[in-house]
C-alpha cells in the first residue's frame, strides 16, 4: 500500500504557527471586508456614533457630579480612556463569542472540531471585528488628553507599565466574555448571560470604590469588572499607596483567562453535536 498512509513526523504547531495562521486569515478577511465598501463605511460611521454617544453621556454625567469619590474630571477621563482601550481586544479578536450559541444550537459548531488545530483558536480566528479599532482610537485620544492634563511624566518605565496593565485589563474582559459565551454549552437561554455580562462592562469606567459591600466583592472577585480598568489604571495614576490588588492584577488576569479558556473547552468536550 502507498506510504502516504504512514504517519509522517510533523513539525510542531507552536506559537509561531498560530500567529502566522492568524495573520493570514486576518489579511484575507480584511481584503474581503474592504471589497464590500458600503458595508465598511456604514459600520465605521455606526461605530463612531456609538462611541460619541457614550462619550457625551459621560460628559453630561460629569457636569452634574464634578467629582466621584474623590476622582476629579481628568482622572475620570483617564479611567474612561483606559477602559475603552482595554475593551478593544475583546471586541476585535473575541467577537465570535457572540455567535457561539447560534452555532452550537444549529450544530454548525462541529466544523471547528475537524481540524488539527486548537478549537478555541480556530473559532476565534474566524471573526475580526474592525469596529474595535475606532474604539481604540477614541480611547487613545481620551487617555492622552487626560494624561497631559494630569501631568503624569512620560518615562520608559511608565509606558512599559501602561502596556502591561492595559493587557492585563483586557485579559479580564476577555475572560468574562469567554465564560459567559461558554454557558451556551449547558443552557439554552444563554443569550441573557452574555448580554448581562456585556452590560457590566459599563461599570468598568467608574472607580470601583463607588461600590460597597456585596457589590464590591462581586465586581472584584466573581465578575472581575473592577479589574477591567480601575485596579490596573491605579498603577499609572497612583505613585504611592498602590493597592496590592493592582500588583496582583497581571497574574490574576492570566489566571482568569486560563480558567475561562478551560471552561470554554470543557463545554466543547461536553457538547453532543446536535444536528445531522
Amino acid at each position: 500500500m502507498s506510504d502516504t498512509t504512514m504517519t509522517k513526523p510533523k513539525a510542531r504547531r507552536g506559537f509561531g504557527f498560530y500567529v502566522r495562521i492568524y495573520r493570514k486569515i486576518l489579511v484575507q478577511d480584511l481584503k474581503s471586508k474592504m471589497s464590500y465598501r458600503a458595508d465598511f463605511v456604514i459600520s465605521t460611521i455606526g461605530m463612531i456614533m456609538t462611541n460619541l454617544s457614550g462619550f457625551v453621556t459621560f460628559l453630561i454625567l460629569f457636569k452634574n457630579f464634578p467629582s466621584i469619590n474623590g476622582w476629579d474630571y481628568y482622572h475620570m477621563l483617564f479611567l474612561y480612556g483606559f477602559s475603552l482601550i482595554a475593551l478593544t481586544p475583546v471586541q476585535c479578536f473575541f467577537d465570535n463569542n457572540w455567535n457561539l450559541r447560534f452555532q452550537v444550537q444549529s450544530g454548525d459548531f462541529i466544523k471547528y472540531c475537524f481540524r488539527p488545530i486548537n478549537v478555541f483558536f480556530y473559532f476565534m480566528s474566524e471573526v475580526f471585528d474592525v469596529k474595535g479599532l475606532g474604539q481604540l482610537a477614541f480611547g487613545i485620544g481620551t487617555l492622552v488628553y487626560a494624561w497631559v492634563h494630569i501631568g503624569i511624566p512620560v518615562t520608559p518605565l511608565v509606558i512599559a507599565k501602561l502596556v502591561l496593565f492595559l493587557l492585563t485589563a483586557s485579559l479580564f474582559m476577555i475572560a468574562i466574555m469567554n465564560a459567559a459565551a461558554a454557558t451556551c454549552f449547558w443552557i439554552v437561554g444563554s443569550g441573557y448571560v452574555m448580554v448581562i455580562m456585556f452590560r457590566f462592562k459599563d461599570f468598568a469606567k467608574y472607580p470601583s470604590n463607588i461600590f460597597h459591600g456585596v457589590f464590591r466583592i462581586l465586581f472584584t472577585f466573581v465578575i472581575p469588572i473592577a479589574f477591567v480598568a480601575y485596579y490596573p489604571s491605579l498603577a499609572i495614576l497612583e505613585s504611592e499607596n498602590v493597592p496590592v490588588l493592582t500588583w496582583c492584577a497581571p497574574a490574576l488576569g492570566v489566571l482568569f483567562f486560563y480558567l475561562s479558556y478551560k471552561f470554554w473547552m470543557l463545554g466543547v468536550s461536553k457538547y453532543d453535536f446536535t444536528g445531522s
Partner: protein
C-alpha cells in the same frame, strides 16, 4: 500476493494499521434533558436529573480496509451521522472500541484529524468570505502540506474536474452544488487516509451529482483514499460502492458486497409494462411466488400492452425491501411482545 496472505494471518491486535477503521461493539447513547422554558427554566435544567436516554448506535462492529469506498446506509435517524461523529473523534462512544488509522479518535482528536477529511452535506467548512483558492492556501498551512504535494493535488483536481470557474469565487457567492464540490475538494486537499462524506449529494442536480461521483471515484483510485459515504441516493451507491453497510435504529443489519445483496433478492425482477397510452407501469415480482408470464398474461387480458421490459431488481428496490423487512420484523416483534404481555395478564 504474498503480502496479502501474510496480512490475513496477522493477529487481531497487530492489524490495526492494515485496516483504516476498526469498530468493536460500539454503542452510543444520548441523554436528553427534558428542558424547561426561560431563564428560570434553564437554571433549573442545570441541576435537573430529568433525562431520557436515546440509543443512537447499538453494538456496531465493523472493519474497513484501506482504499475501500463503503456505502453506509440506513433510513433517517438510523445512526449514520452519529457513527461518523464517533469515527472523527468529536463524539465519545458510550461503550466499545474504535480505531481509526490506528488511533483512538476521541482520545487523540487532533492527531486523528490530520489524516482524515470530513464533509457534512449542506454545512460548509470553508471560510465564508474568502475565495476558494485562499481557503485552500489556509488549509495547506494548517495541515502543513508540502508545497510540492499541494501543487500536485491541484493538478490532479484540474484533471478530474473543471475547477477554474470556482477557484476565485468567494464561498458565500457559490451555488449549493459549487459549494459542495469545493468542500469535497477541501476535504481531500491534505491527502488524508480516510474521507468521510455525510450525504454529499443532497440537494444537487443530476449533472452535479455525476460530476461529484466521478471526482470521488477518481480521487479514490489515484490516492487510494478510504471513503465512508452516507447517502439516501442509490445512484451514489451504484456508481461508487462495492460494499455496503446498512444500519437501522442503530443496529447493523447488513454488511457485504452489493452483488451479494442483489443475489439475496435474486428471485426478484422488476417488470415494466408500456400501455397503449405510452405510460410505463412498474412492478417488483418475486418469481418464487408469482410467474412473470402469468402476470403479463393477466395484464394483457385487461388492456393492450405495447412493450415489456424485465430487469434485474434495482439497488433502490433492494434497499427499500431491506428497510421494509427490518421494519416489519420489528413490528412483528412488537406484536408478539404485546401478545406475551396479554398472556401474562390472563395467567
Amino acid at each position: 500476493m504474498k503480502k496479502h496472505t501474510f496480512r490475513k494471518h496477522k493477529l487481531e491486535g497487530t492489524d490495526k494499521m492494515e485496516n483504516a477503521i476498526v469498530m468493536k461493539n460500539v454503542c452510543k447513547d444520548f441523554k436528553i434533558l427534558n428542558r424547561h422554558e426561560g431563564l428560570k427554566g434553564s437554571i433549573r435544567d442545570l441541576f435537573s436529573r430529568d433525562y431520557k436516554t436515546i440509543s443512537a448506535v447499538k453494538d456496531v462492529s465493523l472493519e474497513i480496509a484501506r482504499g475501500e469506498i463503503i456505502g453506509y446506509l440506513g433510513p433517517n435517524g438510523a445512526g449514520k451521522s452519529t457513527t461518523i461523529k464517533m469515527m472523527t473523534g468529536v463524539l465519545e462512544p458510550t461503550s466499545g472500541e474504535i480505531m481509526v488509522n490506528g488511533l483512538v479518535p476521541y482520545k487523540e482528536r487532533t492527531k486523528n484529524s490530520e489524516r482524515i477529511g470530513v464533509v457534512f452535506g449542506q454545512r460548509s467548512q470553508l471560510w465564508w468570505s474568502l475565495p476558494l483558492i485562499e481557503s485552500f492556501r489556509l488549509l495547506r498551512d494548517i495541515y502543513m502540506v508540502p508545497k510540492k504535494d499541494y501543487e500536485e493535488m491541484l493538478e490532479l483536481y484540474r484533471s478530474l474536474v473543471d475547477i477554474e470557474p470556482i477557484l476565485h469565487k468567494p464561498v458565500r457567492q457559490m451555488s449549493l452544488g459549487q459549494r459542495t464540490l469545493s468542500d469535497i475538494l477541501a476535504a481531500f486537499l491534505h491527502n488524508p487516509a480516510i474521507v468521510f462524506l455525510d450525504e454529499p449529494t443532497i440537494g444537487l442536480d443530476v449533472s452535479m451529482k455525476a460530476k461529484i461521483r466521478s471526482l470521488i471515484q477518481g480521487l479514490n483510485a489515484e490516492k487510494n483514499t478510504t471513503v465512508i459515504l452516507t447517502t439516501h441516493d442509490m445512484g451514489d451507491v451504484d456508481a461508487l460502492c462495492k460494499r455496503i453497510v446498512i444500519i437501522d435504529e442503530g443496529k447493523k443489519i447488513y454488511d457485504n458486497d452489493i452483488e451479494h445483496l442483489k443475489s439475496y433478492f435474486g428471485s426478484y425482477r422488476t417488470l415494466r409494462i408500456r400501455h397503449a397510452d405510452d405510460t410505463w407501469e412498474e412492478r417488483v415480482i418475486d418469481e418464487t411466488k408469482e410467474d412473470v408470464m402469468d402476470v403479463i398474461m393477466k395484464k394483457q387480458k385487461e388492456q393492450k400492452i405495447k412493450d415489456i421490459q424485465l430487469q434485474e431488481i434495482s439497488t433502490e428496490e433492494v434497499i427499500k425491501k431491506i428497510y421494509e423487512n427490518s421494519a416489519a420484523s420489528k413490528e412483528s416483534a412488537a406484536v408478539s411482545d404485546v401478545a406475551e404481555k396479554k398472556e401474562e395478564a390472563t395467567v
